[in-house]
Symmetry: C2
Subunit: 199 residues, 2 copies
């Protein structure tokens, strides 16, 4: 005997979420069936579809946005001379929450990782080169994580930009080595940006 | 700066899942946005709605089912003289997985808990009384959990059935098979000693 078919299907679907195994998926599914009313469960389903349909990458920086250009790139109050390069949108939100950095971002949506088939063409680099020549950019702060792939990506960017008239720096090691940016606390993130090192 | 609106909404919606806080909801939402393709995310949304629409409580035992009567109540191969009373459907699936019990079930979908506004009318008891008079039931095994509410519910059922010609029993509590004594909690150990069996 197993779950009714539609419940079993829901459990299987929920297992695609990161870190969710059979037991957790069952718990979520039974909660949806038993504890939520029709409206609440519709809201979850709608939220998934609306978010999936509406959200795209900012045409300038690659950050997630509901519009063509993200709020940060649209803003007049940001320091346009600095671009902070991060692996993904989550890092943008983490750094924004620390409320210290006032420049712009560039979201790579990945890191160089031949093992995972991620090459130079696969991470949002072309638009970074373009931004550097087009804009009044003076400094690039590279904030990829301190994994081997993150370091390789940082090194690659710094080498490409070596002969160009911009300062290239690496986010300071306030961020504990091996910790994902999203789990770093606000103060650590602020320190890390403050203590950035020139390449 | 926060997430784009549709992403923020998705995060908020996912927070209704049990044990899911802000960070986990963000992780799930960003996984849905970044890692799943359109079809996969539609499948999750559909699965939620289909399950929510299709699944109902078995009209006999209260178990979750896609049909009017659940597979177990429909089956001809179950021992109809025994009804095992559980708090919720999850317990049915757990016991079924153990593959030893061959009787029927009765799912209360709750326990008596005045604090949570759960009274005698709110848990699936009326249909239990009806089954006992209608059917060829000889034994009721009460398998509500050993929380105060579960014990109260068990006691209530046993008292109501005192003058009726069915055996009412409570499942045995003790040290889980394979567990070292040192890891058993005090209450379990007390129960285990109380429930000792003569050789």
């Amino acid at each position: 005997m197993s779950f009714p078919k539609s419940l079993e299907n829901l459990v299987e679907q929920l297992k695609v979420l990161p870190g969710v195994g059979r037991k957790t998926a069952e718990r979520y599914a039974l909660h949806i069936i038993n504890k939520l009313d029709q409206e609440q469960s519709n809201q979850i389903a709608d939220a998934i579809q609306v978010a999936k349909n509406k959200i795209k990458h900012c045409s300038i920086c690659g950050n997630l946005t509901d519009d063509d250009v993200c709020d940060i790139c649209q803003s007049n109050s940001r320091d346009e001379s600095t671009i902070l390069v991060v692996e993904n949108s989550k890092d943008v939100f983490s750094i924004e929450n620390a409320n210290q950095y006032k420049g712009l971002y560039h979201v790579l949506n990945g890191v160089l990782s031949p093992m995972d088939g991620m090459g130079i063409e696969d991470i949002n680099l072309d638009s970074l080169w373009k931004r550097i020549t087009d804009d009044k950019v003076r400094e690039i702060i590279i904030a990829t994580s301190s994994t081997p792939e993150g370091e390789t990506t940082a090194l690659y960017i710094s080498r490409v930009l070596k002969d160009i008239d911009v300062t290239v720096s690496r986010i300071g090691y306030g961020v504990p080595v091996g910790l994902n940016l999203e789990y770093a606390d606000d103060l650590t993130l602020s320190k890390a940006i403050e203590n950035r090192k020139k390449y």
